[in-house]
Point group: C2
Amino acid sequence: IQFGERLALGCSQVQLGFRHESRDQRFTVYVMQLSNCGALCLPADQKMYVRVVVLPCMETTRCLFRTRSFMPQDTTEVNEVFGMQISQSALRQKTLRVDVCNTSKSGHEQCLAGAQISLADVSCSEERCTKWYNLLSRVYMSEISSK
Amino acid sequence: IQFGERLALGCSQVQLGFRHESRDQRFTVYVMQLSNCGALCLPADQKMYVRVVVLPCMETTRCLFRTRSFMPQDTTEVNEVFGMQISQSALRQKTLRVDVCNTSKSGHEQCLAGAQISLADVSCSEERCTKWYNLLSRVYMSEISSK
């Protein structure tokens, strides 16, 4: 796909929800849905999934999660929920990476596009807050170094 | 530096400001200050700078900017401003990458840590809005693939 055509497709988006419950120090990430998946330029008939990582990650804590795989539609409902034990003050030092990935023919994970969200001001305490985030294609990231 | 020591340093943060003026379709990014620069683990006596990119980037528009270089202090005032011509609807499809970089001995740009900000809901129209963002070290990004 040419650069111009890719730009014309616009960007894909992911809808995420967050919640931090102070009582049991639990942070929950809701991967809700994806929109405009055509802009991901996934090869035909290939499944994809969403990978969620809370970084930096202590080795003793689980911080990496993957949804089931699904065939992309223009709007794709994901509706998966991941949780981890963490205090609010520790959470404010973290960054969430959310990537749309697939598995290459050689079996490697390849990430097509992603969002990175600073959790410095996570204010969604007891109530879940949701928001749409643009997914930045890896293609554009690699273009920077040539400028 | 060991992984555990690095974690104990916490994360560096960057304070950014945004403004979109609808009248002249101008988007302005204010790189205001950096905090906790020690967590960047920059080699002693090395200068650094901040690189700002609005992605995806049309070839006809300037979308990559760099601040002057400076010696990191614990809190470093940057106070530089970058602007580009863009409509609000185009801006909502963009993602801002902000990286703290230095120049290696071989003259290459190397980025130590960064933030990525979806501009899907930039609502800072006529008034400038400012916010602190966690900077995620590149060290942690490369760790994901091994999990």
